[in-house]
């Protein structure tokens, strides 16, 4: 399942208002950098401008307070904590915040590299190629039978293969090295390049999985007739290398390829699920049928 936030997170505010001494520029910068590197959200309350409004999150105010205020409840229900950072360097402030996070039973961020697909729905045509292609069950369909990212955690770090097979360049990996996968503007030549990649897989024999199956079958046959294990392995390696190069798939992902049967079974289940949802939404629409004047006998 997706790593949704179960525990709350602290919103940290670098406070320099009434009842406190202003923080030196260098200290403010090093503190903010250290906290951001630790995965925190930090608000700087300056002399002008506005920030996002308070919500039910717990807040931790860091400042050089004349007198340390006591913790209290915010109007919106979140708890407000205060901590004095006078005379502390950024490392000490990091430690202080970590202990406050623990004390508040809040989530300690930063334990997962966020690598997952993001769908650009203005381009997506709901062709489901990504769902059929992804080997790790990242994709699913929502109640409106629209393709959706269901399991971000299942995505293999640095593998952009699904976006490579998307004919519309609608799948982004914002941390990818190059465009349009990283979110850069999609150009005509990008679309041509993406469709070329699909063509390459088609040239391999319909789709890459059937290509793998065929090649593996050929290799098995050759092995059985020629009894040359190394030749068969070489053939498989050659096929995988081509696939890896075309789609930029990392080694470790290729190592965990499921069997062709698994892939077909998963695609079948996804199609079934989508059909069921479609049928259910049709039933619901029928039930919600608007009463006409005729129904009222007018």
């Amino acid at each position: 399942m997706t790593k949704r936030l179960d525990a709350k997170r602290l919103r940290i505010v670098l406070y320099e208002g009434e009842g406190s001494t202003a923080i030196e520029d260098e200290q403010r910068l090093s503190t903010m950098t250290a906290l951001l590197e630790d995965g925190h959200q930090v608000t700087r309350s300056g002399s002008n401008g506005t920030v996002a409004t308070a919500d039910t999150s717990d807040h931790l105010f860091l400042g050089q307070f004349d007198e340390l205020p006591t913790a209290s409840k915010a109007v919106e229900g979140g708890e407000i904590r205060f901590a004095d950072i006078a005379g502390k360097d950024s490392a000490a402030i990091q430690e202080l915040v970590r202990s406050q996070v623990q004390e508040a039973n809040a989530e300690q961020p930063g334990e997962w590299k966020p690598w997952f697909p993001v769908i650009d729905y203005s381009r997506c045509t709901n062709c489901m190629q990504c769902l059929s292609f992804c080997l790790f069950g990242v994709y699913g369909v929502d109640d409106a039978s629209q393709i959706a990212v269901d399991n971000e955690d299942n995505c293999k770090t640095n593998c952009p293969a699904c976006s490579r097979v998307c004919p519309e360049a609608a799948i982004l990996f914002p941390k990818y090295k190059s465009g349009p996968i990283n979110g850069d503007v999609v150009r005509e030549e990008d679309l041509q390049r993406e469709s070329m990649k699909v063509d390459i897989s088609a040239l391999l024999g319909g789709d890459i999985y059937s290509a793998l199956r065929t090649r593996s079958k050929d290799a098995r046959e050759r092995f059985s007739t020629e009894r040359d294990e190394s030749k068969a392995l070489l053939e498989r390696k050659r096929c995988l290398k081509k696939l890896q190069k075309d789609l930029d798939i990392p080694d470790e992902v290729l190592m965990t390829l499921p069997s062709a049967g698994d892939i077909e079974e998963r695609a079948r289940r996804a199609r079934e699920k989508a059909e069921k949802r479609k049928a259910r939404s049709r039933t619901m629409q029928d039930q919600k049928k608007v009463t006409t004047e005729e129904d009222w006998g007018i």
């Binding site: 951001l36 995965g39 700087r44 300056g46 961020p109 590299k113 982004l172 990283n182 979110g183």
Partner: protein, 123 residues
Amino acid sequence: MTPPESKAARILYCHCAYAKVVPEETKQKVLRELNASGVSFDAVADLCEMSARKDPALQRLASGGETKIAACFPRAVEWLFHAAGAPLAKAGVEVLNMREDSAEDVLQALLGETANKTSEAKS
């Protein structure tokens, strides 16, 4: 998305903490100048991580009027917020791309006149 017209737009800075795709010197310079400017702003460690976790804080950051976001490609930022169920408003949001644009350009768009004054004061 259309750029905000008011000078009082909120500022959101993304540190892209979990990857090295935004040039380090651009991030550092933007953060340094923002800090020195005296302007209030929100900073987050990584919008991607917040989006993947469907962090409710994204709702807070997406709402509340005109906003300037210093992060990466506008298309990526727009759909990251959407993926978390916190779509950005169609108007009044400007995304500044620290992956491609210079720190000076980003700061000029974020701070306008204040950016010039901060640089002048330093020189």
